[in-house]
């Protein structure tokens, strides 16, 4: 039986990918960010999970607004990393596990989570920005990803509570998979930031810290917040933090925070955290 062994919360700022590709790991302005991922990468290297399930959002790359899925699960042996306007990144395609993805799709749908599925489509920085900071990619990625995209771009988007419930349903899916796989669930996005309008550049460190504390101790409280609450407190695009709640739902119960790195350099509070069931 497959098992969830931990959870990771991470920003997916596209600039992280740009800095990574340009080799800025030791640049003094970027080092605090890259160093902050090291303990998580070390934990992954030690625990050797077979799969990372990514709750992430597409940024109108894989899908366009004419047909924008609320929840969508990727199925394939591999997932190309998308060209988002600046050309292809020098990374191998991410690897997938067709049987695992299909099992999760079947389990979710039979569990009344009628998820969309997609195949043979490239995936953008929602997954690809943090992945190389978590896993090495030479000669190839050490495991597979299961990408689960959540619409946080075009309102109506799912409620915080619905995301939490999706995580709970994912757990049932994982735990009913017959193979003995080790799975880590990743929730991406945030923390505070706004990237559009005159309010671009908004941050709220106090709220970010409150979010991180509630996330461990009282996630129920976070599932009660409305989108407007997230937008006001953390900036418009920080509403994507509801994807962390999907990860939290998959880790339901008591958890321990093993690591936290918070680096608010320019516009997004770039954060990475690591959790294990208590």
């Amino acid at each position: 039986m497959a098992k969830i062994i931990g959870g990771i919360g991470t920003s997916h700022v596209p600039t992280i990918g740009v800095a990574y590709d340009k080799g800025k790991q030791n640049d003094p302005a970027w080092e605090p960010l890259f160093k902050g991922y090291k303990p998580v990468a070390d934990w992954l290297a030690e625990k050797k999970p077979d799969a990372l399930v990514f709750f992430y959002n597409d940024h109108a790359t894989t899908f366009f607004f004419d047909l924008y899925p609320t929840f969508a699960l990727g199925i394939g042996e591999q997932f190309e990393i998308a060209d988002e306007g600046a050309g292809k990144r020098p990374l191998p395609p991410m690897r997938g596990n067709v049987d695992l993805s299909i099992h999760i799709a079947e389990s979710l749908v039979n569990d009344e989570f009628d998820i969309t599925t997609f195949q043979d489509r490239p995936i953008d920085h929602g997954c690809a920005s943090p992945l190389p900071l978590l896993w090495p990619h030479a000669p190839d990625w050490p495991g597979v990803i299961v990408p689960i995209a959540i619409n946080v771009l075009q309102f109506p988007i799912p409620t915080a509570k619905r995301c939490y419930k999706l995580g709970q349903a994912l757990r049932r899916a994982i735990e009913s998979y017959p193979e003995d796989l080790k799975v880590v669930v990743v929730g991406t996005g945030g923390l505070s930031h706004q990237v559009h309008g005159e309010r671009a550049g908004f941050n709220n460190e106090e709220w970010d810290m409150e979010f991180l504390d509630l996330f461990v101790k009282n996630p129920e409280e976070l599932t009660k917040l409305r989108h407007a609450d997230y937008i006001r407190r953390g900036g418009a695009e920080s509403v994507e933090q509801i994807m962390w709640l999907a990860m939290r739902g998959a880790l339901e119960g008591e958890i321990r925070e093993l690591h936290r790195n918070y680096y608010l350099a320019t516009t997004t509070a770039m954060t990475v955290t690591l959790y294990e069931p208590a």
């Binding site: 109108a60 988007i157 559009h196 309008g197 005159e198 409305r226 350099a265 516009t267």
Partner: protein
């Protein structure tokens, strides 16, 4: 009104991208979105006017694109996430676009940041 979004009316400088906006600005957003394709980029670079006409942009939208009026495009209903694809074609970084949306010079904007060298 979507109850999840109620109570944001007094929040200045924020333009929620919902289905009303998306429906109204579908052509503009599709035009910006297509910049993820190498052919669309090449076509736009070669003949921007024809590319915009083919995309069905209104005269107002064409003017906003010509002038790279980022805040104007947001107000016209563009999603930032397709706008940033056009920013790559226009050789602008997101940080530069943020500064322009705020009506600031790049240096003014970066002076408000904690680690301005982080770019």
């Amino acid at each position: 009104m979507n109850p999840q979004l109620a109570g944001l009316d007094d929040l200045e400088g924020t333009y929620v991208f919902d289905l009303h906006t998306s429906n109204r600005a579908m052509k503009l957003n599709r035009f910006l979105w297509k910049m993820i394709g190498t052919e669309a980029r090449a076509h736009f670079s070669k003949d921007p006017e024809q590319a915009m006409t083919e995309a069905g942009l209104s005269d107002t939208e064409k003017d906003l694109v010509r002038r790279q009026d980022w805040i104007g495009l947001i107000r016209a209903g563009a999603s930032f996430f397709v706008l940033e694809k056009f920013a790559r074609v226009a050789q602008r970084t997101n940080l530069e676009v943020y500064a322009m949306m705020r009506g600031e010079t790049f240096d003014e904007f970066m002076a408000t940041r904690r680690v301005p060298e982080c770019r």
